[in-house]
């Protein structure tokens, strides 16, 4: 089985550029995590600064902000995960029930559209629509004589908008995944069920759902790894000081505390902790996915 080195040489050469790229841009920058255990003094540099042990973490856990930020991240990410899990399934099942083909195709394309817009653009649109003088508030004040609601300045509404826009942007993509899985269901099963007099709900329950069950489990377990990613792009482009208490997540806090205030060691400490937890979650979700859905990368 083992081939000679000279026979493999050209394969290894082909691999080399990729490996260099990974070492240079992924592995080498990781050495910067030692900053989490040092007191950073810019003139001494990353390597020359003094070690302080776990002092950065002690300082971090002493502040109330850290707990709040962690809590916000998990809450927002979980709500996004749950909503973003069910909406595409339900929508795909609805599309699957449609009998007019061109209509199904058109809808599929339209709901897929927002996926291609960047959060910067969507944040602009959201501000336009939900702002104090935006179209929603205009509608509310004119039609119902209500007071304008500060959608982007109140804790409840802001979180709702975060989750709503995230689902709005991504459910088209999820729908396509499930529709692809639905094409694999054998049409003969439906015909047999119809001849046997199955109702729509029965066909849904006994043919369609088992048909996409593997994909549902796979997507669900894989989404578990995102529990600490509440969406930096989105929140960074939408939030303001009014909603820091409810919507400041780890990533935005690291950005402000680390890059803007120049406390690089604290930012690194949080970042390292987040990566460690995320790594564990990825391992768990991968194990679950391989056990329940037969998903394997290696």
């Amino acid at each position: 089985m083992a081939r000679k080195w000279s026979e493999q040489l050209h394969f290894n050469l082909m691999l080399l550029p990729g490996i260099i790229l990974v070492l240079l841009f992924s592995v080498w920058p990781m050495s910067g995590v030692i900053l989490a255990f040092k007191k950073f003094i810019p003139t001494k540099g990353i390597w020359g600064s003094d070690w302080v042990g776990f002092e950065n973490y002690e300082m971090l856990f002493a502040t109330p902000v850290a707990g709040q930020v962690f809590f916000n991240t998990v809450v927002i990410a979980l709500m996004k995960m749950v909503a973003g899990f069910f909406v595409p399934i339900i929508f795909a099942l609805m599309l699957n029930e449609l009998r007019i083909h061109w209509f199904k195709r058109t809808v599929q394309t339209i709901v897929y559209l927002p996926h291609f817009l960047s959060w910067v653009l969507i944040a602009g649109i959201v501000r336009d629509i939900f702002g104090l003088e935006g179209i929603v508030n205009q509608f509310l004040t004119r039609m119902f004589g209500m007071e304008a609601i500060m959608f982007l300045g109140e804790h409840f509404w802001f979180r709702t908008i975060l989750i709503g826009t995230d689902v709005w942007k991504e459910f088209g993509f999820g729908t396509i995944i499930y529709l692809a899985a639905l094409t694999a269901v054998n049409p003969a099963l439906y015909e047999a069920a119809e001849i046997d007099g199955a109702t729509r709900m029965q066909k849904l329950r006994y043919i369609t759902l088992p048909g996409i069950a593997t994909t549902v489990v796979l997507v669900g377990t894989l989404s578990l790894q995102g529990v600490l990613n509440a969406g930096f792009d989105q929140i960074f482009n939408l939030y303001n000081t009014l909603v820091y208490d409810s919507s400041d997540i780890i990533d935005t806090y690291v950005y402000r505390a680390g890059l803007q205030e120049g406390r690089f060691e604290v930012a690194t400490a949080i970042g390292l902790m987040k990566s460690a937890i995320s790594f564990i979650l990825i391992v768990i979700s991968y194990t679950l996915a391989s056990r329940f859905a037969g998903y394997r990368i290696f």
Partner: protein, 120 residues
């Protein structure tokens, strides 16, 4: 194919079409609204008269953009990045010997789905 054409079934169909149309309109509306705002006169926009189609039609915001040298520079940088990353990632992906494999139990479409998931 046997079709159930009972009244209930047809009502369900129409209801479904209505709901799906509504959902796709919510997907489309913000984008159309944005387009309408970009083509309207500023006074109409701040007054809140613009919804689906532009009012006080004008190209002024686009003309302003055309005069903006920074815009074209940043646009150029974006294009440059897309081209470079596409070429590089295409190259390295082709060189990389292992591929994302899925041991799928039932169908080939699942393999394709998981390929999408890995690459995204």
């Amino acid at each position: 194919m046997v079709r159930n054409n009972s009244l209930g079934s047809r009502m369900f169909d129409y209801g479904l079409i209505a709901v799906v149309t509504l959902i796709s309109l919510t997907s489309l509306f913000p984008i159309i609204h944005n387009l309408a705002v970009s083509l309207s006169s500023p006074a109409m926009v701040t007054g809140g008269f613009v919804t689906v189609y532009p009012k006080g039609f004008t190209f002024s915001s686009y003309l302003k953009l055309m005069e903006d040298a920074v815009f074209f520079r940043t646009f150029g940088i974006s294009v440059q990045r897309v081209v470079i990353t596409t070429i590089l990632s295409f190259l390295f992906h082709c060189l990389w010997p292992t591929r994302c494999r899925v041991r799928s139990r039932s169908s080939s479409s699942e393999t394709c789905i998981c390929g999408c998931l890995c690459s995204s």
